[in-house]
Each structure stands twice: as C-alpha cells, then as structure tokens.
C-alpha cells in the first residue's frame, strides 16, 4: 500500500501521516514514512523528537553545501537520509530545498 497525504498548510497532513504510519507499523506492516515537505516536521509527529528531526535536515543541508552526495538509489535515500522512529517506522526526508527558484512549487 502506498499513500500520499496532501492538503492545505495547517490542515493536518503531517499529523495524519504520522498516525497512519505508526498504526500500520503496529499492525505489523513494514512502514516507510517519507517527508516530502521542504520544511520537514514529520519526525516530530512520529515521536522522533526535535533533535533527531533537526539532524535529518542537517544531513539534507550537507547535500546543498556539497559536503554530501545525493542519494544514488532508493535504498541509499532510506539509509542515509532516514532514522528509526517509534513502532518500527522508518522515516526518510526526501527533500528540504532551501533555495528553490521561482517556479519550484
């Protein structure tokens, strides 16, 4: 099952995503939570804590700074840009674009 949660800012996307992810994981499913927000906060709602959530952004920033390579494969993304969250959910931050040009949604 692959689910994408979308909607207006503040409507509850991140909270809904986190509760879904942990509910599936508790039911025994291997669950990958992808934070595709340019301002990623899913770690907080998953219960990962602020420090670990911030750390994932720092890893992503290192790519922008040229200190880290982009992920070479989906597995590499999950490994290097991810963290283990409660209930066995694996969280990965897909993007955190700091300097998008106009036209970048």
């Amino acid at each position: 099952m692959k689910i994408a949660v979308v909607g207006k800012g503040g409507s509850g996307k991140t909270t809904t995503s986190a509760v879904l992810a942990r509910t599936f994981a508790r039911a025994g499913a291997s669950t990958l939570a992808l934070d595709c927000d340019s301002n990623p906060n899913l770690g907080i709602s998953l219960g990962l804590g602020e420090a670990a959530t911030e750390h994932l952004v720092a890893v992503r920033d290192a790519v922008d700074a040229g200190e880290q390579e982009h992920a070479s494969s989906p597995d590499d993304l999950v490994e290097r840009f991810g963290a283990d969250a409660p209930d066995g959910v694996r969280l990965s931050v897909v993007t955190a674009i700091q300097n998008p040009q106009p036209g970048c949604p």
């Binding site: 207006k8 503040g10 340019s38 709602s45 952004v57 300097n99 106009p102 949604p105």
Partner: protein, 253 residues
C-alpha cells in the same frame, strides 16, 4: 513600512496579514498587499470578492536570453508600478492587492505568472507606499527570493514544536541571507508562558502576540474575513498593537 509574513503552514500568516493590511490602510496609508503563495489565501482575510487577482497572461511576455533559454518579463512599456495600478484589486479600505496568480488548467503551468510576479517585485512602487507580503508556508527561501523587498520579516509562530522548529530554521536561514531584520509574532497564544516560550525556543524577538481566537475559526469556517465577521475580535486588537509596535521600531535602512 515593508513587511513580509512568513512561518509554518497553518500558523496564521494569511489571516494576520489580511487584517494587518486592512487596518494599516484604514489609518490612511497607501498599502500594497502581495500574495506570493501559489495556493492563495490572502484574498479571504482581505475580504475581496475575487480570489484570483494575478497578472493576466498578456502582461507578461516571453523572450529568449543569450543562451537561447525562454525567460519572461513584463510586456514592453509596463513597469511594476503600472502593473500594480492596472491589475491590483482594491479592498474596501483602498489597499491594493496583487497575487502571484493561480495555475490555470490541470498541468500547473504557472511559470509565466510566477516570473511576471517576480519582475513586479523587482520594480515595486516606492515612496509613499507600505508593502505587506504574504509568503508561502515553510522555509522556502523567503529572504532572497519571495520577500526580498521586505525590510522586516514577521515570523508567525504558534507555541507548538513544529511551528517553533520552523521559526528556528527561518532564523538560521536569515543569518545566511544577509541577516535581515526578523521578528516573531506569537499566534494562537493560550497560556501566560506561551510568549516567553516562543521567544526562548525560536531565538527571535517577539514583537506581537495574538491570543487564540475562536472568532478567527468561525470566520474561516464561513469563508469570511475576520474584520467583516467580528471587527471587535481580540485578533483585531492584537494586530492593531502589532502595527503600533512596528511603527515605534525604527526600520533598518
């Protein structure tokens, strides 16, 4: 004054910005309100009937740059100020409202409006105008791009972990973007310690504080501007205080 509202999605940027614009215009200032969020919300809080107040397609022309890439500019003879005069929608208080322009059709190709809007930002009306921007939610570089006209950035922060985290990220981004003046507005404040919490955990000076306001939720539910729904709402008083506080602070050159 030239201010831009930034912050996490749902923190209350558009709601506060719209009320701010109308109150500011009500004091006799000439105000231009700029909505640079591709999902526009400012129209609701401004109380204007149209939600789409963008540049028409024929205000923007395509051209090829030296490398043969397609670029966009305002059509020949149309200055940024002209664009504001011709295409902005007026609020009841006489403020001008211009929006980035919604995507037309299913393909979300609003590149033309996007770049046209950027060209207006390069050539905004100057003396005698106050400019208030409502920026997209999150941390998409507001300082160098979307809000580069602003002298003061107002980060709307709720006393929640995610909102505070966004505030900290914005404060950090500002340091790498020429350190513009960045101040926090605490929103949806419920408890006495909330404002101190916002100051301590965002690392920003708090210049305004807005209580949690059921009237705002009611207005949103009905699709009304807060100022039309309840002109005596606590938020309105708080935004008036915010304007006064900003006027007391000297803007950086």
């Amino acid at each position: 004054m030239r201010v831009a509202f930034v912050g996490k999605g749902g923190a209350g940027k558009s709601s506060l910005a719209g009320t701010f614009v109308r109150l500011l215009a009500g004091t006799g200032e000439r105000v231009l309100a700029l909505d640079s969020d591709p999902m526009p919300g400012l129209a609701f809080s401004l109380g204007v009937a149209q939600s789409d107040a963008g540049l028409p397609d024929d205000a923007v022309e395509a051209y090829d740059d030296e490398d043969g890439r397609t670029r966009y500019r305002l059509r020949a003879g149309l200055s940024g100020t002209d664009a504001v005069e011709q295409y902005a929608v007026r609020t009841a208080e006489g403020a001008y409202f211009l929006q980035l322009g919604k995507a037309n059709g299913p393909t979300w190709s609003n590149t033309r409006q996007h770049f046209g809007f950027q060209r207006v930002l390069d050539d905004l009306p100057g003396d005698g105008w106050s400019i208030v921007g409502d920026l997209p939610g999150g941390t998409r570089q507001p300082f160098l791009t979307w809000g580069r006209y602003a002298q003061t950035f107002l980060v709307v922060v709720e006393p929640t972990a995610a909102s505070l985290l966004t505030g900290r990220r914005l404060a950090r981004l500002a340091q790498g973007a020429g350190a513009p003046r960045v101040l926090a507005v605490a929103n949806k404040v419920r408890e006495p310690g909330d404002v101190e919490q916002v100051a301590a955990r965002s690392g920003l000076q708090v210049i305004g504080s807005v209580p949690f306001d059921p009237a705002q939720g009611e207005a949103d539910r009905h699709g009304h501007a807060l100022l039309d729904h309840d002109p005596h709402a606590v938020t309105v008083t708080a935004v008036r205080s915010l304007i006064d506080a900003l006027r007391r602070e000297k803007e950086p050159a």
